[in-house]
Symmetry: C2
Subunit: 474 residues, 2 copies
């Protein structure tokens, strides 16, 4: 045997480079198509075939990566050369933004052909991105069971277990021997991916337990399923929150788990690959939403799409900036008298924002993992205030020193130091209170937390510093 292939990301990068190379040879650009000589036409045809061959060798996930890494024009050029049998798999793998561009390039017949190779749960993932009439046409091509499953999957929210589960379950009865189970399994051509356990159900489809494959392999063939199965598996309901299912998968090191309805009837199963995808998407959404972006924008999105994606967040920030600006406006007279205030005020606001972001990040994270309760509020405020007091005093003294060197004004330095400490205390207090209040109100404590705390410490910092200066320096 030859040495096993490395399918590491480096070699994936190589493959991307190869595809780019084949795409970018002269004559490959559509604009030049008309001007080709017969010889060039032939060369182009050969490259085309080589590209097609390369693409066929690749795992759908790798083709998806390549499509995501290409600007729109090249992306569609590659997409047209992908064998249609792979289309469905690839559409499942690409990001939402890229999927949209690919589907926009297909006609109804192509979409339906691509969808034909997919299971009901996979169809449910695609359906929201497909044109309405295509979905209706698709429904007609499905058998009753598949249609039922597709409808069920579509009836749940994206972040509910019901939307993530699949229907590839191997079910067995509990009154047979393991020998019988083994013979039953051998009648399958292929077991579903991530089959680490078989689901034991009664004649009405109610879950009685699970038989881990590990156990099936080490147990004597004449034992009964009922004696070997585990009767206390981790189970989920279709209505469960997907984020909580993810935590359970992590906590109990699951590979798959049954999904049952309230009465205990087996409805589907969750698998670790769906959980992994969910984590990845959640994390991306978090990172993007912290900067006021949504998942719909991919790196090569059109300018217009990007503008629409970003303007709303800029508007929110302009509002908070305007408020801060009006706070400064209140003290224009003081600034006219002592212009150093204008130069020093962003420092007070900035350090408060920074310190507040540290606090709110800790608290939001604690709330997300369930470690912070509203009951802890007083203890946490006391702690965060102490940290702010120590850090604020230390850096306040350092900064007061620098301000003295610059302006040789002792009262100004003292006001600066005091304002820094007070703004950091404000930041500590609000950094604890904001997420806890939001949790109490049933809101997401993370959403826009950084904007909110920064808005408070900006306006608050300007107000405290300029207010103190007006009181004591003028």
């Amino acid at each position: 045997m030859s040495s096993p292939n490395r399918k590491s990301p480096e070699s994936l990068q190589d493959r991307l480079d190869q595809v780019m190379h084949l795409l970018h040879m002269p004559g490959q650009s559509p604009a030049e198509e008309d001007e080709l000589s017969p010889a060039e036409e032939l060369a182009r045809e050969q490259r085309n075939q080589e590209l097609q061959r390369k693409l066929e060798e690749l795992h759908p996930a790798d083709v998806a990566f390549i499509l995501e890494s290409l600007p729109l024009e090249e992306r569609l050029a590659v997409w047209q050369r992908v064998k249609s049998a792979q289309d469905g798999e690839i559409l499942l793998e690409v990001s939402d933004a890229v999927r949209e561009t690919l589907i926009a390039d297909m006609d109804s017949q192509e979409i339906i052909a691509a969808a034909n190779n997919l299971d009901a749960d996979e169809l449910a993932d695609l359906a929201p991105d497909l044109p309405r009439d295509v979905v209706r046409e698709l429904m007609d091509t499905l058998d009753a069971q598949q249609r039922e499953r597709l409808k069920s999957a579509l009836s749940y929210d994206d972040d509910q277990v019901g939307a993530l589960m699949d229907f590839d379950m191997v079910t067995i009865r509990d009154d047979v021997t393991l020998e019988v189970v083994s013979r039953y399994l051998r009648r399958f051509e292929m077991l579903p991916d991530h089959t680490d356990k078989l689901f034991v159900v009664d004649y009405d489809g109610f879950l009685k337990g699970v038989l881990p494959v590990k156990k099936l392999l080490v147990s004597a063939p004449d034992e009964l399923v009922a004696d070997v199965m585990s009767e206390d598996p981790v189970i989920f309901a279709p209505e469960d929150d997907a984020g909580e299912a993810v935590q359970a998968f992590e906590r109990y090191d699951l590979v798959s788990a049954p999904v049952v309805d309230v009465r205990g009837q087996l409805k589907g199963r969750l698998t670790i690959d769906e959980m992994l995808d969910y984590i990845r998407e959640e994390n991306e959404a978090d990172v993007l939403s912290a900067a006021g972006l949504r998942e719909e924008e991919d790196i090569f999105a059109s300018v217009w799409k990007s503008v629409r994606n970003r303007w709303a967040w800029l508007a929110v920030n302009l509002c908070t900036a305007l408020i801060a600006s009006r706070v400064i406006g209140l003290f224009e007279y003081s600034i006219e008298q002592l212009v150093a205030l204008a130069a020093l005020m962003p420092i007070v606001a900035g350090i408060g924002g920074n310190s507040g972001n540290q606090t709110i990040t800790m608290i939001v994270r604690g709330v997300a993992t369930g470690q912070v309760q509203v009951a802890h509020a007083r203890r946490l405020i006391r702690k965060e205030a102490s940290v702010a007091l120590i850090n604020g005093s230390f850096w306040g003294v350092v900064l007061a020193g620098i301000a003295y060197l610059l302006y040789a004004n002792v009262p100004l330095s003292i006001v600066l130091m005091t304002a820094m400490v007070l703004n950091m205390l404000l930041a500590a207090f609000m950094g604890v209170v904001i997420p806890l209040v939001r949790m109490r109100l049933g809101r997401d404590p993370a959403l826009g937390s950084s904007v909110l705390i920064t808005a408070i410490t900006d306006s608050g910092g300007f107000f405290i510093f300029l207010g103190l200066a007006t009181l004591f320096l003028l």
Copy 2:
């Protein structure tokens, strides 16, 4: 059979509440211990036993969650009541910060007893947090193979595959029938977790392929391993980057994968649960480091520890704020002449920072997923600049209108609008260039990217706005 247990996070919260309740009954606090009557003593003993019983019923991951959710004093009170057989598992599950507090509470003998139940790869995870002499003592209790494995695991970086792999491999030969394999497996009491494939090796331990358990189950018993095994599995080297391994697990939906050295000899295996933990830790580290925090701080850390964790980042921010302050200082004369400048300048800086963060977030994410190449730089700058121009012009006009309402000064409004557009163009340019240059230099494009872009747009915004104002308004 009773209906299967729901081990969902809600019921985990209930268990936490139960433990808290048992801990917080009167007489449970150490301070009151001396003043107990014999009857109280008895009641206390009973609660103690109930607490211990509750803890024994729990999965180690659940005990870890409870420990993480308790302030230090209560945490140690619970920890002392955990059965020592579970100690090792629990230490593996808790976060680094909490682990430190637990280990500080144990003496050498307790640590060694806890470690005795662990495998070499698990020991390697704990070792960096243990006192030096305890690690040395532990080494002595291990047999030669375990010691070798522990040393090997410790020789790799935290983010290398070698540090994440375990040694629980089931290996088989390729010249036997599946029947023989099945009989061999039945001699195991238990297969390792996440055994979705068996590793096929030759007599010298070189990997020849893998036999997926799925395939073993559906194939005829008289087939040879060599005919059924897959010869082209995804494999890793111990030196590989863990992040890339995670991507491969996601891409190819792996549950486990062999780790081989350069010569092809099987060294260990990677499993999906380690990948999941790695993703979680990476994401937490990202979220925390964005706010200048490190993983070592848990929510109930001491004030002093939190101060040390946070001061360095505040110092960095103070430096950038000082630079921005000095830029303003250059224009003190202009501000004295037209004090409205002081009120409007934070808006220009703020919107630039916001817009720059949007750009740099998109680019950093594209670099991380491998979709952005240095070759794309010009195209991306052109696109981001266009977005900035459109958003900047639109909001610039809106803001110029508001400024006119406030100050009735047309030239001032025009300067404000121009400064906004220019600062957003600067933000777009730097937002693309910074991560790409860092990638070129082999640095992490994400690290401190938000601070860097904000520092540039703050100082740049002040300079552009006050500079234009000085040139055209005075």
